[in-house]
């Protein structure tokens, strides 16, 4: 093969190579880089050396990046004093690092040989640092000596949003009824306005407003319901992480399992790569509950007092009923009163009304412990009517009349704490339903 042919082939090879390179160049340039300017921050340094190094030592370390890495980095850049060891104590993620230095030589200025912490001020310097990324902080910026910028591979700029209903009825453990509210977490890459290229898992947490829903005794650790397959979330921390990452639409669907107690609950969702946390307040409540209307046929307060019957520090408002139940109650009280009048009673007994339901219904934990009896006072359809030996109670001689009046109206009463001189009352199902 002569030289001409060889030269020709070489030219063709080079031509192909050029074509390939020209094709690859755009691909290389498409490898996106996230670039941010460095910032100045007080950081661990060392007396004297820190100053001359200040323009060339970007400290992108984030605790607990091990100190050996810093050591190696400094050594690589030939700025390490021989026989001097730097130890990174901690960084706050924003460039502020606490560094210890151990040196075997005397430093300028007569500083003592040995170990010093830079928190003394003597050992600190304001250095250019790469800021800690807000998105994907586990992937730090690295200082680019070529352009003086802090860079890392371009990240997805993910944001999360929560959608779904904002109200649900309380659950009822006694009837094994768990009311669930479907919610949708949607993750979007803000750079592309599309679902994330790499699907992410969603983390959900649950908080409760302590004294919401008619409970005056609440604390932040009150029962707060659960998420998905979890019946309950024990704390404000992340309660549930989606077992599967976001689907092709960037969504994760999950249920909020309502607790028994009414209140305002806040559901939060985020993901490891998300730049935000989405929150959604949800009211767990029974709708259409209203304060019992004042009437001359029944008493809502103790005789001669403004104290609400049955009001406690745990539940100051205990007189909420549904509209339909209110009508039944009024009718029952009217009939009971007028029946006494028709039968010649000169001083008719007014019904003295104790617990109905809380403002938003749900579990009426009479002792303020989120458990225990009173389980039918959930939906504003049941009321306790005083029938003991205290003032205003239905006298035993009228018990049958009360039951008769109630039965005529389709109301179902029975005694609770029967025989107890203080607690006996007529548990009265105004709509003949146990709820």
């Amino acid at each position: 093969m002569d030289a001409r042919i060889q030269k020709h082939r070489m030219i063709r090879w080079l031509g192909c190579l050029l074509v390939l390179l020209s094709l690859m160049t755009p691909l290389v340039s498409q490898a996106q880089v996230e670039s941010v300017p460095h910032v100045y921050s007080w950081c661990g340094g060392f007396y004297g050396r820190g100053c001359y190094a200040s323009n060339s030592i970007p400290t992108s370390y984030i605790y607990p990046t091990d100190s050996e890495a810093m050591q190696a980095d400094f050594a690589l850049r030939n700025i390490l004093e021989p026989d001097t060891l730097f130890t990174l104590i901690s960084c706050d993620g924003m460039g502020w690092c606490e560094v210890c230095v151990t040196t075997l030589i005397a430093l300028p200025g007569g500083s003592p040989v040995g170990t010093k912490k830079c928190s003394s001020g003597l050992w600190t310097a304001k250095l250019p640092v790469c800021p800690a990324p807000k998105v994907n902080p586990s992937i730090p910026y690295r200082y680019n000596y070529g352009n003086g910028m802090c860079e890392r591979p371009a990240q997805q700029n993910l944001t999360i949003a929560l959608s779904g209903g904002s109200e649900i009825e309380p659950s009822n453990n006694l009837t094994s009824t768990v009311n669930t509210l479907p919610l949708i977490a949607t993750v979007i890459d803000q750079n592309t306005n599309q679902p994330p290229t790499n699907p992410v898992k969603v983390k959900v947490s649950l908080k409760v407003a302590p004294t919401s829903g008619g409970h005056d005794h609440g604390t932040s650790d009150r029962p707060r319901g659960g998420i998905a397959e979890l019946d309950t979330c024990p704390s404000d921390d992340t309660c549930w992480t989606s077992p599967n990452p976001t689907d092709s639409g960037g969504t994760v669907v999950f249920n909020f399992n309502a607790p028994e107690a009414s209140g305002t609950y806040t559901i939060s969702a985020t993901c490891a790569e998300c730049s935000n946390t989405a929150t959604k307040p949800v009211d767990v409540k029974v709708d259409d509950l209203w304060p019992i209307s004042a009437s001359t046929y029944y008493a809502l307060t103790e005789d001669g007092s403004s104290k609400i019957i049955g009001s406690t520090t745990e539940h100051s408002s205990n007189h909420y009923v549904s509209s339909e139940a209110q009508l039944q109650l009024w009718k029952l009280a009217t009939d009971f009163y007028n029946d006494q009048v028709r039968n010649g009673v000169t001083n008719p007994t007014l019904l003295h009304l104790n617990d109905a339901s809380l403002k938003w219904g749900g579990k009426f934990d009479i002792h303020g412990k989120w458990n225990g009896q009173h389980d039918e006072h959930r939906r504003g359809t049941v009321i306790d009517v005083r029938a003991n030996s205290t003032s205003g109670a239905i006298p035993p001689t009228l018990f049958e009349n009360y039951i008769d009046m109630a039965t005529k109206l389709g109301i179902d009463p029975h005694l609770e704490y029967k025989g107890d001189p203080v607690r006996q009352h007529f548990h009265t199902r105004l709509l003949n339903r146990e709820e």
């Binding site: 006694l174 028709r342 225990g372 008769d404 005529k408 109206l409």
Partner: protein, 360 residues
């Protein structure tokens, strides 16, 4: 009468067995055949509020209000355009309890000085007392009884009478006694309704807040069915205004269609009745009033073959010996009386419409 108690007892014992099967260990509802009462053994919650798990053994005695044997007679007569309904009530001579409650629920409507609302949501609290007066005035109520009209959960009206002097030991309709004078008028023609009767019982209660779970459900079933049911004639079928025989016949047909399930009507016989009712309605719809009338009369003749004296409106539904001899089992006698009355009502109104046309 004993057989009825036995049947009721069997039902309740069955419930008790079911409740035993599904209640917590140690919980049961047991029918006591000697007393006719139910012994409810259940686990109650302690009073601390610390737990939702019942652990404390409790007991309650439930005395059913079904130890009565009510016999009710329905009389319904047409007076002008209104039907007058009245009921005769007696309590069987062996009834352990006195009868204190008589409830009709639902009735479609009754005649009153102002229309009575049929749904609770149509009632304002401020109107309750006025409605109460209107309702009471619309009822015939015997002495010592108290009658009210209220809304029915089923839609329509709930009409309830209760004995008003419950302080007296012999309150109510004691065994072997009877009482007339319950009634009202209605523009609606009769169908068959179920009246609820209750006997006098001790006040029921629990020493705590009662059971939870399955025992509670079983007890609820007992208490919600704590009455003796009896079929009576009740305003059920609204008469269309302006009068339309076809529409009314369709309504009668719909009412009759419910009777086989209530065991008032043999299904095969029901099919025959239905064909005639449909044909009568179609005849009127196609302006063949003569055909319509013929079908209605044929129906009446069919009924007359099953029961005699159906058009004796002043009589009630008591099964006298004379009636029993003439009774066949294709259709309940009260049902036959009601249907015969309804057909006569249709024929009567058709006559009047025709007379009015002739006058014009």
């Amino acid at each position: 009468m004993r057989s009825i108690f036995s049947i009721v007892g069997v039902i309740f014992v069955s419930l008790a067995i079911i409740s035993k099967a599904y209640g917590l260990p140690g919980e049961s509802i047991v029918f006591d055949p000697t007393s006719g009462n139910y012994v409810v053994n259940y686990l109650g919650l302690d009073d601390s509020g610390d737990s939702d798990v019942p652990t404390i053994p409790r007991q309650a005695i439930f005395v059913p209000a079904t130890k009565i044997y009510p016999i009710v007679g329905s009389v319904f007569k047409l007076r002008e355009t209104e039907v007058v309904y009245s009921y005769h009530l007696s309590n069987g001579s062996n009834s352990p309890q006195s009868l204190i409650s008589f409830i009709i629920d639902p009735a479609s409507d009754i005649v009153s000085s102002s229309p009575l609302p049929k749904r609770r949501q149509d009632i304002a609290i401020s109107a309750i007392e006025q409605l109460d007066k209107i309702g009471r005035a619309a009822l015939s109520t015997p002495r010592n009884w108290d009658g009210i009209v209220w809304t029915s959960d089923a839609g329509g009206l709930r009409i309830a009478w209760g004995y008003s002097l419950l302080k007296t030991p012999s309150a109510g309709l004691i065994a072997g006694s009877s009482q007339d004078g319950f009634g009202f008028s209605s523009k609606d023609i009769p169908g068959i309704g179920v009246a609820q009767f209750r006997g006098r019982t001790p006040v029921f209660g629990f020493v705590d807040e009662g059971p939870i779970g399955e025992i509670k459900n079983q007890l609820r079933n007992l208490r919600q069915n704590n009455f003796v049911p009896r079929n009576i004639a009740v305003p059920t079928i609204a008469v269309p205004v302006p009068f339309d025989a076809a529409v009314l016949l369709d309504s009668i047909r719909a009412e009759v269609a419910t009777w086989p399930a209530k065991q008032l009507l043999d299904p095969a016989y029901a099919a025959q009745l239905d064909r005639y009712l449909a044909a009568a309605a179609d005849g009127y719809r196609h302006k063949q009033t003569k055909t319509c009338k013929e079908h209605a009369e044929n129906l009446r003749q069919m009924l007359a073959k099953e029961h005699h004296f159906l058009d004796h409106d002043d009589e009630d539904n008591e099964d006298t010996e004379e009636h029993k001899r003439a009774t066949r089992f294709t259709i309940d006698r009260l049902a036959a009386r009601v249907l015969d009355f309804d057909l006569r009502y249709v024929l009567n109104r058709m006559e009047r419409v025709e007379e009015e046309h002739k006058k014009r």
